[in-house]
């Protein structure tokens, strides 16, 4: 079977001075027309020789930093702007959602906006009419249907906008970041709807910074950097590669060991289970914090304490070990690894506090804010709250007890 979408050597060039100038004035044009000067125009390839294929029913995620060309690529795919070179072959109806609520007008009522927006998105009038009930139901704004949109809260506007989009039925759906709207409850609803869409055999092209959501929705992904596809493949692999490349691992090393110190931390570095140096972890990954320290003497009641701080510097939890139980090599470097079990820390940024000390007596070596790490969500049960709601620093497996009493309501 032929792929539902083929993109062949797609490129898009912009001239820098057009972008900087915003729009041309006629005077500029006339001046340029008289003097044939190309030197003040600099070419910029926003998308450069991009090729990929998508099979029917498959979904593909597009990842990249800001300015990597993601939005331009989506604009070309949605026919909003033409490519400078290359070709797109789409074998199906394509609809794009580069924004929710395109064409929403504050003076029009909710009902009127649903019709206009739906029509813009390519729905037929009859199609909108037949789905109207569902759309309103999904948005949850039925009470305000005949109120002008300007009296809606922004959350209500977004919900209504997404509801219209959610009932599109194209074979290929192009989505740019639009899931990043609304409260957690509505996000969950949207994600569910998107999964329905993808399960019904439709193809989704999804651009997002919410990697967890992207991983959940798309089987395959590609990374765009400076307009070029750097890597493509199965989503988990691509997301992993991307997060690794985002920030290089930051290990900590002491340049010179102070001679008077009895205990000195010399090296700290986080690795994954496979022993690879990294500072990005999936929430479901084991985090290993390795440290090397020098012990010039064996002292009683000396503890090694490692704490994890969240991004606000608050302590999340600590791990503590009495060192006298271990045979330490004097004048030698000792290696210790702390293993944090998978699904412990919730997505976010953390750093380490490490102390070798005798509690309440003496701190031999104390280091704070070491080895910042980032945890990302690759499909936790809290994924619908991603970037929306802070649900705590740790995952805890709790037990639930439900009691049902049908008579209570009577």
């Amino acid at each position: 079977m032929k792929p539902i979408l083929e993109v062949k050597h797609l490129s898009k060039r912009y001239s820098i001075n057009h972008i900087a100038g915003g729009y041309l004035s006629l005077r500029e044009r006339m001046r340029k027309g008289l003097r044939f000067k190309r030197s003040d125009v600099e070419d910029f390839w926003a998308v450069n020789d991009v090729s990929f294929e998508v099979q029917a029913g498959e979904s593909i995620g597009i990842i990249g930093r800001n300015g990597a060309g993601k939005s331009t690529l989506l604009k070309i795919l949605s026919k909003i702007t033409p490519p400078t070179k290359g070709k797109i072959i789409a074998r199906g109806r394509m609809a794009s959602l580069l924004e929710v609520g395109t064409g929403f007008h504050p003076e029009l009522t909710g009902r009127e906006n649903v019709f206009f927006n739906g029509s813009l998105l390519g729905m037929k009038r009859r199609e909108i009419e037949s789905k109207f009930e569902e759309i309103i139901d999904f948005s949850g704004v039925e009470k305000f249907l005949d109120t002008p949109l300007k009296h809606y809260s922004s959350g209500m506007q977004l919900r209504l906008a997404f509801a219209v989009a959610a009932f599109l039925e194209p074979e290929i759906l192009v989505i740019d970041e639009v899931l990043a709207v609304g409260d957690a409850e509505f996000q969950r609803k949207c994600l569910g709807k998107m999964e329905d869409v993808s399960r019904s055999g439709r193809t989704i092209l999804f651009v997002s910074h919410q990697l967890g959501m992207l991983g959940k929705l798309c089987k395959n992904a590609l990374i765009l950097e400076k307009g070029i596809i750097v890597k493509q493949g199965p989503s988990p692999e691509i997301i992993n590669y991307y997060t690794q490349s985002l920030s290089s691992a930051n290990d900590f090393r002491v340049g010179k060991i102070e001679p008077e110190k009895i205990f000195a931390i010399t090296k700290v570095y986080p690795t994954n289970l496979a022993g690879e140096l990294t500072s990005n972890f999936a929430h479901s990954e084991v985090i290993k914090l390795n440290l090397t320290f020098l012990a010039r003497q064996q002292l009683n009641s000396t503890h090694l304490c490692i704490s994890i701080n969240n991004k606000n510097g608050q302590r999340v939890f600590s791990a503590d070990r009495l060192l006298q139980n271990y045979k330490l090599g004097e004048q030698n470097l000792n290696e210790v690894s702390l293993v944090i079990p998978k699904s412990t820390l919730t997505p976010g940024d953390y750093s380490f506090f490490i102390a070798i000390h005798c509690p309440n007596v003496m701190g031999y070596d104390v280091k704070d804010q070491l080895c910042p790490i980032t945890i990302y969500d690759n499909g936790s049960e809290f994924i619908q709250y991603e970037n929306k709601w802070f649900y705590g620093d740790v995952f805890v497996k709790c037990g639930w007890e439900f009691k049902f009493n049908n008579n209570a309501l009577k």
Binding site: K79, I88, A90, R93, T102, G103, L120
Partner: protein
């Protein structure tokens, strides 16, 4: 609550190719026919939202203009009016002129005012300026309702030729509007200078078109030929013919019509040639 998706049907493929671009795709326009309706409908709704008098404004505007022109040109300056009562003469002209001027202004600004939509979603861009002309057509119909009591009040005889003259006048008026409308809409996207040109242009054209005076006022034939080149000349003359009973000079009519069509072709050609890049400039 979860809706059932309709099964996927085989779809014709569409191709976007940098090397080959279609200049005019009539089929596509036809597929988007509902969007013309929705854009027009939206603009009409918005235009009269939060106004107390609402649609009445469409009637009041030409009415006041008629009164002013009657006082100054009809009474004070005694401008001839092809044997019609001057108010009837001027109102019949203003009916079409207002359609043209508001249609032209609307469509010239339409691409810029809908830039947010154009940047985010694809549809045939021609829908935008054409729908904004259709909004002016709505105002025409409203004002036309006032025109009928005016005819009765002045006991104006209307020839049977009105049955075909009036509709064709309207069609000619739309063609005359669409040409400069699409041209200016496209130019305005690229060069915002045209924003300032449009009101000025409309004003100048108003005096260069026989709206408040008949062509016969002009003494020199050469001047008549120049005036007749105004695309709106044909529309207004066609509209007045059933009232005045004066035969239209066919050379004048042909000149005006050819100028209309020429501008229409130039306008649509330029619009289609530049529309691909609207999203980059808007």
């Amino acid at each position: 609550m979860v809706s059932q998706f309709t099964p996927i049907k085989a779809q014709p493929e569409y191709i976007v190719d940098a090397e080959r671009r279609k200049l005019f795709d009539f089929q596509e326009l036809w597929r988007y026919k509902e969007l013309f309706y929705f854009f027009t409908w939206r603009d009409i709704k918005i235009k009269y939202k939060q106004t107390v008098l609402g649609f009445l404004w469409a009637v009041l505007q030409p009415l006041f203009m008629m009164i002013i022109f009657t006082l100054f040109f009809g009474r004070a300056l005694n401008v001839p009016s092809q044997n019609l009562p001057y108010p009837v003469f001027v109102f019949s002209g203003l009916l079409l002129w207002n359609t043209f001027s508001s249609g032209l202004t609307n469509s010239a600004n339409s691409m810029v005012s809908n830039a947010q939509i154009i940047k985010k979603i694809y549809f045939p861009r021609l829908v935008v300026p054409v729908s904004s002309i259709l909004v002016a057509l709505f105002d025409f119909l409203m004002a036309f309702i006032l025109f009928i009591p005016l005819l009765i009040f002045y006991q104006q005889k209307v020839s049977i030729t009105a049955l075909w003259c009036w509709p064709s006048a309207l069609v000619v008026c739309l063609i005359a509007t669409m040409g400069p409308g699409t041209l200016l809409a496209a130019l305005n996207v690229k060069y915002r200078d045209f924003r300032y040109v449009i009101p000025f242009l409309v004003q100048v054209l108003f005096f260069l078109t026989p709206v408040i005076y008949p062509v016969s006022v002009l003494k020199y034939p050469i001047l008549q030929y120049i005036i007749v080149l105004s695309p709106m000349y044909a529309a207004i003359e066609l509209f007045r013919q059933p009232l005045t009973g004066v035969d239209i000079q066919s050379t004048f009519l042909i000149l005006s019509l050819s100028s209309s069509f020429l501008i229409l072709f130039v306008g649509i050609f330029y619009f289609k040639r530049t529309e691909d890049f609207f999203a980059d400039f808007a």
